[in-house]
């Protein structure tokens, strides 16, 4: 079976004419900026436009749920380097629609922007609280404005109620405790992190938070947020599903993230809690064929990892945005010879002076090997296996071990077969 080579807007060569509409990157955060940088570093000399819905220049998000919340508010430190990008910036504007056939992006002010290549990097947003809520004192945390608002609220002393003990929820709890703010942390699971990392890790995380004085309520969920109802409409606490209630001056809803794909509705791209892409970061249509000239990277992309074929996965981690953006940019510039994206996923989390590091995909494991677990020394070393093969690791204050796991996982992945060969699943429309 020989399909035609991919034909697309960029097949005339990667360095399209300087007078053409060029490449648009929708999303001006980490993945978007890194894609833009990769395009330039790989020789793209045409027009390059970044569209971002925040009015701030691009910045790094990891500090927002950590030291930034209760430390000095020096956001400048977290700005992403933009030197050499030679880009046009459209900030404070959101993309509203995409016509993938004509390659036109429509913005929320009515502007229509044609392009020759498109990078979708719109990231994700915090999952909102959908039930009724008081107007004041209820926060989510995703962007710089969110972090500033939450930081100001915490400076008022709390007490703080956090709904959701995932990565963001536990990091906010740690930051708040460092500033001596009373914290109640609520999660429907039996323990924090248990869904992704299992009982051993969860016990370690639980102990850290309890030792720091967090009022941890697990196996229950926030049913309703209560307010003072006297016109100020400020939050006063929450009612939990176990029948108890918690008083709070500030509430953070930390129930995960939702990929930002609303603007792609009706475009014909395959949307499934993220934009579906193939192994080369090429955006897919609902019929499974890829769209010439459109790639996606970062939190918004749902991609097939060799260990998670089929529906694939989305990852909201810093390193995923960086590495996937690089591959997506390469695919866009050199569509005839793309390379597959097959990273060893990794992330870190800082809580109470403990640095957690994870590599691989521990959530795939059927077996956990506890190699070290010491709450006194604040060290953890867990290896995760599926069918006897290492698929991930989680460590705390054990950096060298993490690196060794990462090397093993990288070696295993190097042997995994690629996805469908480029060109085999050719665009036929």
């Amino acid at each position: 079976m020989t399909g035609p080579r991919m034909t697309g807007p960029l097949t005339s060569g990667p360095l399209t004419s300087a007078t053409g509409p060029g490449i648009i990157v929708v999303g001006a955060s980490l993945a978007g900026v890194r894609a833009a940088r990769a395009l330039r570093e790989r020789g793209y000399g045409g027009r390059l436009t970044l569209v971002g819905d925040e009015r701030h220049p691009p910045y790094d998000r990891p500090p927002l749920s950590k030291e930034f919340l209760t430390g000095p508010a020096d956001a400048e430190r977290f700005g992403l380097p933009l030197d050499g990008l030679e880009a046009d910036w459209v900030l404070g504007r959101a993309a509203e629609r995409l016509d993938p056939r004509r390659l036109v992006v429509a913005l929320d002010d009515g502007t229509e922007m044609p392009c020759e290549g498109l990078v979708i990097a719109t990231g994700s947003r915090a999952r909102p609280w959908v039930a009724d809520a008081p107007r004041r004192g209820v926060h989510t945390l995703r962007g710089l404005d969110d972090a500033r608002a939450l930081g100001a609220a915490l400076a008022g002393g709390g007490p703080l109620l956090i709904a959701g003990a995932g990565f963001v929820g536990t990091e906010i709890a740690a930051a708040a405790r460092a500033a001596d703010v009373p914290v109640t942390l609520v999660d429907k699971a039996a323990r924090p992190w248990i869904g992704r990392f299992g009982a051993e890790a969860a016990a370690f995380v639980e102990r850290l938070h309890r030792d720091a004085g967090v009022d941890l309520r697990c196996g229950t969920r926030v049913e309703a947020l209560t307010g003072d109802g006297d016109g100020d409409d400020r939050v006063t606490g929450a009612e939990l599903s176990d029948g108890t209630s918690v008083a709070a001056g500030t509430v953070v809803v930390a129930l995960g993230a939702v990929p930002s794909t609303g603007w792609l509705a009706g475009s014909g791209l395959a949307l499934d809690q993220g934009v579906r892409v193939d192994a080369y970061c090429r955006a897919l249509r609902t019929d499974g064929t890829h769209v010439p000239g459109i790639v996606a990277a970062g939190d918004v992309a749902r991609w097939p990892h060799p260990w998670v074929p089929g529906r694939g996965l989305t990852l909201g981690h810093w390193s995923n945005a960086v590495e996937q953006a690089e591959v997506a940019a390469r695919t866009l510039l050199f569509p005839q010879e793309p390379t597959a994206y097959r990273p060893v996923p990794s992330f870190w989390s800082d809580q109470y002076g403990v640095k957690f590091r994870s590599v691989g995909l521990p959530e795939l494991a059927d077996t956990v090997e506890v190699r070290e677990q010491s709450t006194e020394r604040r060290r953890l070393d867990l290896a995760y296996y599926r069918d006897g093969a290492l698929v991930g690791a989680l460590t705390a204050n054990r950096a060298a071990r993490t690196a060794s796991y990462q090397a093993q996982l990288a070696a295993a992945l190097a042997l995994a077969p690629d996805g469908p060969l480029p060109g085999r699943q050719a665009a036929t429309s």
């Binding site: 870190w348 590091r357 950096a399 060298a400 690196a403 990462q406 090397a407």
Partner: protein, 69 residues
């Protein structure tokens, strides 16, 4: 080529160790170790390590990929 890590910035994330284990490593106390002088054949890996450092603590000079080299 010469590699430098700004210890004031380094937060021991370890991404550099993943990218260029020939140059970067950790000791048992999570202290980052690295080789200041490395052969030019490693500069692509060191460049990758610098690019994936979340706090941009890594700089290098002397190779053809070095900024301002």
């Amino acid at each position: 080529m010469k590699t430098h890590v700004d210890r004031d910035l380094c937060d021991n994330h370890g991404q550099c160790v993943f990218a260029a284990p020939e140059v970067f490593s950790f000791d048992d106390d999570d202290y980052l170790l690295y080789t200041e002088e490395a052969g030019d054949e490693l500069q692509e890996k060191v460049a990758k390590a610098a690019a994936v450092c979340p706090v941009r603590a890594i700089t290098f000079t002397g190779g053809s990929l070095a900024a301002g080299a």
